[in-house]
Symmetry: C2
Subunit: 330 residues, 2 copies
Amino acid sequence: MATIRDVSKIAGVSVATVSRTLSKPDKVSEKTRQIVHDAIKQTNYKPDILARNFRTRKSSTVVVLVPDIANPFFSRVIRGIEQTAQRLGYAVLLGDTQGERDREITYANMVHTSQADGIIQLDCHIPFEDKNDRTSPIVNACDCVRGTDMPTVQLDNVAAAKEMANHLISLGHTNIGIISGPENSTITNDRLRGFKAALEDGGLSYNSANRMYGDYSIPSGAMAASDLLSLPDAPTAIFCMNDEMAIGAIRQAKKMELNVPSDISISGFDDISFSEFSDPPLTTVSQPAEEFGSNAMQMLYDLMNDEEPANKNIFLPFELVIRESTGEKK
Amino acid sequence: MATIRDVSKIAGVSVATVSRTLSKPDKVSEKTRQIVHDAIKQTNYKPDILARNFRTRKSSTVVVLVPDIANPFFSRVIRGIEQTAQRLGYAVLLGDTQGERDREITYANMVHTSQADGIIQLDCHIPFEDKNDRTSPIVNACDCVRGTDMPTVQLDNVAAAKEMANHLISLGHTNIGIISGPENSTITNDRLRGFKAALEDGGLSYNSANRMYGDYSIPSGAMAASDLLSLPDAPTAIFCMNDEMAIGAIRQAKKMELNVPSDISISGFDDISFSEFSDPPLTTVSQPAEEFGSNAMQMLYDLMNDEEPANKNIFLPFELVIRESTGEKK
DNA sequence: CTGAAAGCGCTTACAG
DNA sequence: CTGAAAGCGCTTACAG
């Protein structure tokens, strides 16, 4: 591979001039620029970005910490990150953490080893050994930690859940089951709070026996639905904390020869692409997945370049999408 | 941040010794090692990996070229890549190419700029300006280019498609529609060849009017199914080239008040996680998605480290998964 | 087992 | 506008 030295020899100029021609062309005379470009073409020179990054002490790379890359919602978020990163001149390193603290720390550490300039964390953990670490530019998106000053891009999950629960209540349901995500998640807690708030507003009381746990996967939703529908006083509607679990719940209801929605209403959360095509099409809360990614990346860019972001706590809009999996109580 | 120099001063040894303590501890005396480790702890030293990579002329990074990160099959492949890369000490850069040649070239170029040591390409294109370029370690996985010497990890798509078509034929279907992927894909061509071979073996003739095109998305499958089912002599079975299109087709059939499978059999390909839970559960071909990734990464590792891979053209096993979306012809 | 020194390929003050 | 020189933080022959 040709180096900047080879180009400079052929062009008969210094390496500084070659470097400037590439990075600050306005500081080089028209004529010299021409000569240098010819030499670059002749040698098929490509600047060594690794060397440049090393010299300038910037990797121009960000690392994204994602619990599961194969999750359809997260993969859309990452698409948004990638597109914006590419536009801003950053490469994106993938850190599939499976939610494990060790792996999060390992990947987040890349900022300390100069492999990355910043971090996007999609899970509700602080990915540092020392939780008060303030040395790494980081943006927390999707499932966000409470009670820290990490910049965030999130949904108002309380409001969204409340709106969905209100929808169910307005349909006449008074005994509503809930298929919850794992306890130690901000999203889970916020959605539960919204759910409870709607119940309260509707003069209904929350019954913790109506809460079953899943892990956001389809089979876990089916299992939780089975438990709920086998209750002596089974609910007539089920509020699921994501679409996968709702799809599992629908499947389970059908298996138990229940009609959705006439026997049992089921709602989801996220609006992944399959939800529109489930049978029946799923009532859910749609979120702008790609925008979580693009906003987080843009905010991280500001942080990495010492510009104060306009807004350090972005809330993205949601929308209730009422399809056919929810209906009036019989 | 502390540098190796700081550590060496505190430990009272040369930087060479600090470096060796980290990378070749057996070349350093027990006692010195102890002193150095104390100094590392004291200074909270973390080696600058960017500097190390620059010095050793290895980025320890691979770039993966993926047409669409949000595709459920590809995201599982990437999970397999990431896990194996992590184990082998490599970082993975994400190159979402949307199948565009420009973007593929841009990302593949990272090998020439020292940003990556190798490439995993998941699409059936050669991602180089000069198609005969042999300077970059690359492995082609999933949808593979024909007629090159690029190492590959793939499925025997001809055999798999043939087996699926045989299944349909064995059910008594003689008029079988096909929802195809885009023409310029090796996978599409191979699956079509397998489909035709089965027809021929069964004494049936291939009717190109029975082939509709989709783009592997759910809506495109629904549209293609609509066309197929509106044909004067509509097929009684539809062979879809992936699960998303099959799910779209099922939805469309139901919309047209056709029962699946008693009126129309529909088969998919890939066995994504939703297929087991579609209604009816989808008959499909299952592929070991993660293993495409882990095998490709392992092979690329061998290539990058100048070890001859044991096998430069790996074929992974598939399995026909017969569920409830296909049935006897009425 | 250890250290002094060279050097990886760039960029950027500094001087002219 | 241009060049000589220093230096980013490491690793690794080489010599002892």
